[in-house]
Symmetry: C2
Subunit: 198 residues, 2 copies
């Protein structure tokens, strides 16, 4: 029987090697050759999975988003709304080593996407998915129907919340003194409280 | 008389060429050779001003911050606090072509700084300067003494405001439908109003 190769596992391994290369040397080092080396694979094997660097980068970007989504889907929500919104929104913040890695790759790829229309289109897809999540949380928080179109005010609030969390994520990545988990959660809690004073 | 060369003008011209190269091809294309070409200078002339790529990149980053500071210093403030805070904070948003260029370079260099400790140190300096500006605006807005240390609550609010504006800047760079100037100003105005309900 021929040896079975788990192709999706191989692709994932290459994408994770791509993350490491980006993290250690910046996006400018993420050539297919460097990524193949980091994954311990030949360039030919890599080309079997990704025929261009763009494909590899796009897949690596998608994997960040998949990991965040998987983590969110596996969260044990308490049913207490404020606590659950804190837990959900903080999946985007670099509060542990996994999330820091995701955040660094996300920042590097977002910068790259400015000069790469295909990557930018993918980036916007992920952005819109996330905004959709912020719309849901905001609807619940403001007592609107989360399955309906938000009121104009709630729509603004969803965008404000999304921008706040992404801004906090970037500040935490770049300024470690901003990355204290308790302080970040306090700040998001403050935001929620000001949004709907109790 | 020997020909006079305005050295600081030359350095500025090279940094602006570096911005253009980053904007068009991403940070991975910002080699000293490509930047010299874009500036119409020889590699030897560039090396006269910047002996390494790191120096060139760091200077290009500093120039973004200087341009923002110069623009802020030249603003005609109205004395009406809400309007003035909107005007000041929106200097960080890509509301016109100049600010979009600054924002794109800032994003590319912030990503690069994750794998470059020297650039990261510079990045944090600029970050702290900006946070200081947000502290001042927040103090004025909340009626605290802008020359004194903020109350813990105002300190949190300054960080929240700073993160919101940077998050909005990134969203505007990456998702043009988020970049409508009137909508961005409305969002910041909403933030101020919720911070100090009238």
């Amino acid at each position: 029987m021929p040896k079975q190769v788990d192709h999706s596992e191989r692709r994932r391994k290459l994408a994770e090697a791509c993350w490491q290369v980006i993290r250690e040397g910046g996006i400018e080092n993420a050539s297919v050759r460097n990524v193949a080396d980091a994954a311990g694979m030949s360039l030919g094997s890599l080309r079997h999975y990704f025929s261009t660097q763009s494909e590899l980068i796009a897949f690596s970007m998608r994997l960040v988003s998949e990991r965040v989504n998987e983590r969110i889907a596996s969260l044990a929500l308490s049913g207490e709304l404020r606590q659950d919104i804190l837990l959900l929104s903080s999946q985007l913040l670099p509060l542990d080593e996994d999330r820091r890695l995701e955040g660094e790759v996300w920042l590097a790829l977002s910068a790259k996407s400015l000069a790469d229309p295909e990557l930018l289109a993918l980036f916007r897809e992920v952005h819109d998915e996330l905004l959709q999540g912020f719309r849901k949380m905001t609807a619940y928080w403001l007592g609107e129907n989360p399955a309906a179109v938000l009121s104009p005010e709630a729509e603004l609030e969803a965008r404000r919340f999304h921008a706040l969390v992404d801004g906090l994520a970037i500040h935490s990545l770049l300024a470690p003194e901003s990355a204290d988990p308790a302080a970040l959660l306090e700040l998001i809690g403050l935001h929620l409280d000001r949004l709907r004073p109790s």
